[in-house]
């Protein structure tokens, strides 16, 4: 019974913790403009994140070390540094976007300018990173993030033509008034949003924080293979709701306030209130994950003591990085940069950094010195290789598409 509870809790937090500001904004933008015609990218991205999250979770459970702890040792300092720079730059950018996302969500509740709220949000994030227990942070914010299910309920309430939605999902097509290059740009953005590097970083390091062993492989796989796909369905629900409300009036989505409107249209004030709780929980949870991921990546590369499972004094440099990265993220936000624009950049740059993040995972997961009998099987290797090719293509075309389409204009 206790094990069942642990599995259920893990799945629920994986669902609630899957969506972040990038998923919220990108899915709503794409839904409003393209309906569900890019929904297959979300589904494809979910399979990809499952493949690599399972690998990195397995590495953590078998070796007792986070994947990137091993990368430098296995692939040398140059690859380790390239990996560190690429993933950390994107994670820091995502950290800025997530803190901005929490501030924007609170602005919707209070109508106080997000710039005034952002420093308080950053302080709360730092406090959670410093004081809260890892499991409490993960479970509470993950479970609160589950409230985003309101978008699935809202979509059902809005009564879409399910046949048309299904058709859009399975047929590669675009609305007549959109260009293929714009369609391709948003496909890359959605893929980047679904496979954000920090998620795997956090997942593998979190496994070490929670002291996973071989016995935890089943629970880990249940979290990944049930929780992540169900979390991904929330992304589709957000896109579907935006398609129902903004599609017919031909309006684009550019703000977090617009992302919440479908919940209000479908379910009134109660639906809107639940959606707002979901916005705050999802972005706050993701902000904590990003902050920790920055600390994890630097500490693991430098070989410092890291993690929330050791006392603060023991991992002082790790906690210093957490504090400094929170300050840097806040300073960037206070330059009045638009958090939604930062989000748009972060998902596209995430696509660019993907090869440097995911290639080392595939290498380490195939090394019998670390993995023993738990090295990748044929299926994991075939899927991993296919995704690496797709990731490589996405990374190559991301910047040209960004320039040619003027960021999806």
């Amino acid at each position: 019974m206790k094990k069942f509870f642990a599995v259920a809790l893990g799945i629920l937090t994986a669902i609630g913790g899957f969506v972040d500001i990038g998923d919220l904004v990108t899915n709503a933008q794409v839904g409003a403009r393209f309906g569900l015609s890019l929904g297959w990218v979300v589904l494809f991205g979910i399979v990809g994140i499952c493949v690599f999250a399972e690998m990195s979770g397995r590495v953590a459970a078998i070796s007792g070390r986070a994947t990137f702890d091993i990368v430098r040792e296995r692939l040398g300092p140059r690859v380790g540094m390239a990996n560190l720079l690429a993933s950390m730059a994107v994670t820091l950018l995502t950290f800025v976007a997530e803190i901005g996302g929490v501030a924007l969500a609170l602005q919707l509740v209070s109508s106080v300018n997000y710039l005034l709220i952002a420093p308080f949000v950053a302080f709360i994030v730092w406090l959670i990173l410093w004081r809260a227990r890892f499991s409490v942070m993960e479970n509470v914010l993950g479970l609160c993030g589950l409230t985003l299910i309101v978008f699935a309920v809202g979509l059902w309430q809005l009564g879409p033509d399910w046949g048309s939605f299904t058709h859009q999902l399975v047929v590669v097509d675009k609305p007549g008034d959109e260009q293929w290059r714009t369609w391709a740009y948003y496909a890359v953005a959605l893929f980047g949003a679904a496979m954000t590097p920090y998620e795997v970083f956090f997942f593998s390091s979190g496994g070490v924080e929670e002291r996973w062993t071989t016995e935890d492989l089943g629970v880990m796989r249940a979290n990944v293979f049930i929780g992540f796909p169900l979390g991904g369905l929330l992304s589709l629900a957000i896109a579907g709701s935006a398609a129902m409300v903004f599609g017919p009036i031909d309006a684009s989505v550019d703000t977090l306030g617009q992302v919440g409107l479908p919940a209000a249209v479908a379910l009134g004030k109660i639906g809107l209130a639940v959606a707002l709780v979901g916005f705050v929980a999802a972005t706050l949870g993701a902000a904590c994950e990003c902050g920790l991921s920055v600390g994890y990546s630097i500490a693991q590369y430098r070989g410092w003591q890291w993690g929330k499972y050791v006392r603060t004094q023991v991992a002082a440099r790790f906690h210093l990085v957490l504090a400094l990265s929170t300050v840097v993220a806040t300073m960037v936000l206070l330059t009045k940069v638009d958090p939604i624009l930062v989000t748009e950049f972060s998902v596209v740059f995430s696509a660019i950094a993907l090869p440097l993040t995911y290639f080392p995972i595939l290498v380490v997961a195939n090394d019998p010195d670390y993995m023993g009998e738990h090295v990748n099987g044929r299926l994991a290797n075939v899927l991993g290789s296919i995704y690496l090719v797709v990731i490589g293509v996405a990374a190559l075309v991301a910047i040209p598409l960004m320039v040619v389409t003027r960021m999806g204009a």
Partner: protein, 161 residues
Amino acid sequence: MTGRAGGWRRAAVAVSALVSLTGTAACAPGTPDGDSWRIDAQRAVSDASSAVLTAELALRQNDHGRVFDHYLQTVLVESEKGMSKAADTIGSKQPPQAERERYDTVTGQIDEAAGLVATARIAVVDRESDRYAALADRLAAAADALQKLEDDLQHPPRTGG
């Protein structure tokens, strides 16, 4: 020594000239060709139309008791910012000769709609809920006009004669 000083002076002059030229170019409005201007204008009108439609949608939802006052206020403020951004985007572009007339139409309609969104925001901040329905109707008309203008911008300007 003199030669080296002369070299430095020439370099300093060249750098100053380059900086001045760059500065001048940066201050001058962009002068896109006809097609490029039309794409920019379409984008600005489309963004403005989205902002107006969002403001209208939010006001109507408030009429049905489906949104909170603070939420409505924030959505209206964001719409107003969106209008201002759209106006800046197209206002800073130098229109080609053939598009001067439509430039006036585009900037005029965006400014008019921006004024309307600002009026709606003022009403929302002052909680004058009895004005919401009428304002939503006016916003709908403004959005309709913007969408017609966007359609018109898909084609090059009609030449007289």
